[in-house]
Subunit: 462 residues, 2 copies
């Protein structure tokens, strides 16, 4: 008899129906071995078939109907409207990857003819092909029970690349995961596998010999641990971990408007602040204008609403983060809502400012002058995003930020990550473990592709 | 006073003129800090200027004339003709990367317009840009004092990407390295730096906070150690290490020709076998034809010539490798030249067969039947190349090999790696530390580029 676990309703703390088996190491090995079998590889080998399976999976998820949304709402506490949007994103993403592999040329070979007359040696013909890297282990995220979970972006991009997938279900939404997994498996069969469990199950997965690469979205602690586990295996494998960041917003005088104040607070408190791209820092230069802007933001934070957090554990971690900030010497509370908090600080707080508090918590960083703001920007650890309010394209912050972040947003807010061929949801460490890749958008597929050169292949027309 | 070292002439064992300073940790820090200064970044920011510098560097290396070839010959023992070709490859590579960044579109942005009318939310404009990853540390290889050294493929691709470079000179050819470095620095100034020293200097370099990525060509032991060092830094960085392999050649009956026997031995003994792509394994199915093929190869190995190895240490390691093979139970000596050796074995020798013996040493693996050959191919650790002699494009070995190698060669030999947009000089571990990249060919630049998305940038025409 294997151990089991269950989900709690984060709104009530009550146990939800359903029991889920915690995987043993043998279960993990079996799932990975099944995923890596010749028959699953064969089932993924044809691009058109793969694209159709991605579309079939999207349709099967939609066919789950309201029951899926209800389950995800019960398990995550996220509002039905948000989950409905997230389902659309999830299915849209599966279809976008289907289109991408069929139409964008991303999987096309590059064929270069040879030249037998080249001196001093003949030039052989060369063809560069794109091949799937191998079985991809995907770690579902707590904060997106659909779009960054069983059939989320990591899974969709890996399957699009032709890689079988083994998902570690996030234990906060096992029921949702089982429903989505059923839909996914109806299209992909054994080429998709899922296991339930905690950190130990994750470690077995990352060290399994049948696993060739890992996609992870979550905390810095867990992401870095898995990255190191992958790198230190006898046969090292790449672990792409997206570990969040504080996503600073730089408010220049022309951007210190009432509508941007409202926009900032809306982005900060969206989904109880539980987004990787939550704008946790607001940076400006000391001035009456910036003070007025911050005063308006403070007012809006005080009157902001409340939402259920994903779990009691995440709510407790949020409270602990607030405590840590409150007790920092140079940090003081500016405004307090039922859930949201706004603090003030100066750049001299340093590293403290860049520790993400997962939830609707903002810190206003007031710089003496533009030079200090530039220096602050240059000192930032890697971030998923940085936002500029009221800056021209040529502002001196822009090149500094491009060195430190994956996405620079002008006159908008970082939450709401478009699924696009031009998106980057990545960035220098510690935002991710590899700044050369993204986990959202069509180029997310590049994490799972490796090149193979075929030299001097004989023609078959003999 | 810093410690110094000197080079030995591998042909005579005599000390060569010239003394080179072994870097202290402070020297390494200074080099990396200089490489990462705002002025070096500014000097590399414009693509056309960078391309011109690459061309200037090529011209400056050529302007060193015969003196460079003489120095490289003295330090490496490699023949003048080979070094002349290697210089052409090195300069051609610098120019090819200049053309590549100007004409191929590899650094182009992808701009997608926004749509203010999209429902439910407006679509922002998005632009995907390619940015240099940061300072790249390059480790010169022992076996290519020009083409995989100070101004070799790693350096050329990194500079083409816009990354400053710090080279760790290979201690077997310091004089050659200083000459090439002078030429390179005449074009690139402080954006290129070099340090001399051994393993300790390499470790300081990989752990320096100003270094963002590493390119290495060399042994599995050293490459893996540096890879792990990079992954285990507080801020992990990617280390692309190309660590060689045994490059199996599968000889099918139609390929068991006299000319292929000669081609195999020529490839095996080329440059005293000191190539990453040296074909150390010859695999076939037991048959009179294969026996005759192997007999011809044995004859050619017995009558093959001799060449100076790169160093006394490499020659000693070669001898040790031969001893290891000779003493393996199922391995026996088939043929012996003054330097080259040919052994026979069966697939049951397993892992032993895949330990590279750096030098002109081949092992003939005789399989019972095609099924055993297929199984053997599927069991191979990752390889840079695999070669098929006499196979059709549709042979059952082809898909198996594509899973295990970076390049599949038909009816040719793996030595001689074209610098081409379709080349892959890479492969699954242990051939390299990351199967998604190559160190030769134009796509080598992708190791040093990271994407940055610019969202909703205001137009400057206000």
């Amino acid at each position: 008899m294997s151990e089991t676990y269950f989900a709690l309703n984060p709104a009530t703390g009550e146990r939800l129906p359903g029991e889920y088996p915690i995987a043993t190491q043998a279960d993990v090995e079996r799932a990975c071995s099944l995923a890596n079998s010749p028959s699953t590889w064969a089932s993924l080998s044809d691009v058109a078939t793969r694209a159709q399976k991605l579309r079939d999976a999207a349709a099967a998820i939609e066919a789950l109907g309201d029951a899926l949304i209800e389950m995800a709402h019960l398990e995550s506490g996220l509002p039905v409207a948000r989950l409905t949007g997230e389902r659309a994103r999830t299915c849209g993403q599966l279809r976008a990857f289907a289109d991408h592999i069929e139409s964008s040329g991303v999987l096309d070979s590059l064929s270069l003819p040879g030249n037998p007359n080249r001196a001093p040696l003949p030039l052989p013909s060369l063809r560069l092909e794109k091949h799937p890297i191998g079985v991809v282990a995907v770690f579902g995220a707590s904060n997106f029970p659909l779009a960054f979970s069983v059939a989320g972006g990591d899974t969709a991009s890996a399957l699009a690349a032709g890689c079988p997938v083994v998902v570690k279900v996030h234990p906060l939404h096992p029921g949702t995961s089982e429903m989505v997994f059923g839909a996914l498996a109806s299209a992909f069969g054994d080429a998709v596998q899922r296991v339930h469990g905690g950190a130990e199950v994750g470690e077995w997965l990352v060290t399994d010999l049948n696993v060739a690469a890992v996609g992870f979205t979550g905390s810095q602690r867990a992401g870095l641990a898995l990255f190191r586990l992958g790198a230190n295996r006898p046969e090292p494998i790449p672990v792409f971990a997206e570990m969040g960041s504080v996503n600073p917003v730089f408010a220049l005088p022309p951007g210190q408007t009432e509508s941007n104040a409202a926009g900032y607070v809306a982005s900060l408190t969206l989904g109880a602040g539980q987004f990787c791209t939550n704008p946790g820092l607001l940076v400006g230069v000391d001035s009456p204008g910036f003070s007025a802007f911050v005063a308006e933001i403070s007012r809006l934070v005080s009157t902001s609403g409340e939402a259920t957090m994903l779990s009691a554990g995440i709510a407790a971690a949020y409270e602990a983060g607030l405590c840590r900030l409150s007790s920092a010497e140079g940090v003081r509370l500016l405004a307090e809502g039922p859930q949201a908090r706004l603090y003030s600080a100066t750049p001299s707080e340093g590293a403290e400012l860049f520790e993400e508090v997962f939830g609707p918590c903002g810190v206003v960083v007031t710089c003496r002058d533009e030079a200090e703001m530039l220096e602050f920007a240059g000192s930032m650890p890697g971030q998923l995003t940085a936002t500029l309010l009221g800056a021209t394209a040529g502002h001196s912050l822009v090149p500094v930020l491009k060195r430190r972040v994956g996405r620079v947003v002008f006159d908008g807010f970082p939450t709401g990550v478009e699924v696009s061929p031009a998106m980057v949801h990545g960035g220098p460490f510690p935002a991710t473990t590899d700044s050369r890749f993204t986990s959202v958008g069509m180029t997310a597929i590049e994490r799972w592709l490796r090149p193979v050169c075929v030299q001097n292949e004989p023609s078959e027309v003999d």
